[in-house]
């Protein structure tokens, strides 16, 4: 019994350590590498993170893992050691909340379009092309400023040839698959929404 209590206390301490590591910024960039967590929390660090993730659920937070190669589905120990771990919001945020953290709807839409375009271009696209796309709906001066801001905040990266790619923050914060699916299903969703009441009306008429 005493052994179990001791083990529970040990686990609670490890979860506390994990909170300190993940919530507070220790390096220039946020996030903690797997090997750092292993070093601090011991060999059962993955279980500790799993328990912490469950405990964070009611607060709408989660432990997010970002692998260097996003195509890896089942990472091995070495890949996990190199992965970065963050605490992120579990669900999305609404436009009102986004405004309170300093994002205009134009900025958010611009970032969404830039990311979606880069994803569709296999992860990299010339800055001029992204600017051209954004300029269709946003003023030119604003487009340049916005892209600079996305780069500065770590959402996009730009190499010496002027090619944009998704940087660490997009990889950590944006569910790429969900974003692309949402954009592609936009029209279809509307069609379904419009078609639904018509079908219901039709059924009612038939019943009459």
């Amino acid at each position: 019994m005493a052994k179990r209590v001791r083990s529970e206390a040990g686990y609670a301490r490890k979860i506390k350590d994990a909170v300190h590591l993940l919530f507070f910024q220790h390096h220039r960039l946020p996030g903690v590498r797997g090997w750092e967590l292993r070093q601090e929390l011991g060999p059962d660090w993955e279980n500790v993170l799993e328990v912490l993730d469950k405990q964070l659920q009611p607060m709408d937070l989660q432990v997010t893992r970002v692998l260097d190669d996003p195509n890896i589905i089942d990472p091995d120990q070495a890949q996990l050691a190199d992965a970065r771990f963050y605490i992120t919001m579990r669900s999305g945020i609404d436009q009102k909340a986004a405004k309170t953290i300093g994002w205009r709807v134009d900025d958010i839409a611009g970032l969404a379009v830039a990311i979606a375009y880069i994803i569709s271009k296999q992860g990299k696209a010339p800055r001029t092309e992204v600017e051209k796309l954004l300029q269709e709906k946003l003023p030119g001066w604003r487009v340049k400023m916005s892209i600079d801001r996305y780069i500065q905040q770590g959402y996009l990266g730009e190499d010496e040839k002027g090619v944009l790619y998704m940087d660490w923050r997009s990889r950590a914060e944006v569910d790429q698959k969900q974003l692309v699916d949402l954009i592609l299903s936009f029209g279809k969703r509307k069609e379904v929404e419009v078609a639904k009441p018509k079908l219901e009306e039709h059924t009612e008429e038939e019943e009459d």
Partner: protein, 262 residues
């Protein structure tokens, strides 16, 4: 090679670069045509510039093939969506709808910065020990003195030079290592460099660096840098199998105190 022909080859290189930059789809280029251009002009290459252009074209072409391979791999992943379709959808959507879609898939990082009473107390201690700038940046009082000469023995007596030569020091360290761990034996890094005083520990770690560099011993570290070991070399050479890597080891005062406590 004539200017026109070189232009054609440079056109091929330009096309390859456009594929690399992502402005042209990898499968939009005609590989057969590019190969044919390279083949056609290869017999006419007769100077360094022509060879360089030809090599650049072949390199570009191989990169296009690599991009085609990556493109196929990307298409087989769940992330692949037709770029044309995606662009059409983006054009159709208004700004608010795009923003809404993005917000649903945006999970912002939660991060905090906080000062604790403990941190503040520690910083206060540092502040107290900090020497004022006036003292730290004090201009040295340099005086003109007559230059003199000193013999090697005098310099040693003054402590500017060690009593024995550096090679002798390393030899004695090598022998000490052999006495402690035996030929080709291993010892934990801290157990090897650790001494009664911090200064002596630093000195031992300094000499150990040369011991390893000159092949008297090898150093090995595990993946996480938790376990660092010094290995005795029975023959004076560095391990040819071992890759030439620098292993930075921190000889921290706090760590030394911990080591002393055992």
């Amino acid at each position: 090679m004539s200017g026109k022909k070189r232009d054609e080859l440079e056109g091929v290189i330009g096309l390859c670069r456009a594929v690399q930059a992502g402005s042209v789809e990898p499968f939009a280029v005609d590989i057969d045509y590019m190969l044919e251009v390279i083949r056609r002009y290869y017999p006419e290459t007769n100077n360094l510039q022509d060879f360089c252009t030809d090599a650049a074209a072949i390199k570009g072409l191989s990169q296009v093939l690599q991009s085609q391979n990556d493109w196929i791999q990307h298409q087989s992943t769940t992330l692949y969506k037709d770029p044309f379709l995606l662009n059409q959808q983006i054009q159709k959507m208004d700004i608010s709808a795009i923003a809404d879609g993005f917000l649903k898939s945006w999970h912002t990082i939660v991060q905090m910065e906080q000062l604790s009473a403990k941190t503040l107390a520690g910083s206060l201690g540092y502040w107290t020990d900090l020497i004022p700038l006036v003292e730290r940046w004090k201009v040295s009082d340099v005086q003109m003195v007559d230059a003199g000469t000193a013999t090697l023995d005098e310099v040693r007596a003054l402590g500017y030079l060690p009593e024995e030569g550096f090679a002798d020091i390393m030899e004695s360290f090598w022998k000490e290592l052999e006495a402690r761990v035996g030929k080709d034996g291993r010892i934990a890094y801290w157990d090897w460099i650790g001494a009664d005083t911090y200064e002596e520990t630093l000195n031992r770690s300094y000499i150990t660096v040369f011991l390893v560099s000159y092949g008297y011993a090898n150093i090995e570290s595990d993946r996480f840098g938790e376990k660092v070991e010094i290995i005795h070399n029975s023959e004076l050479r560095s391990d040819p199998v071992q890759s030439k890597l620098s292993i930075p080891t921190l000889v921290d005062y706090e760590e030394w105190k911990q080591w002393r406590k055992g």
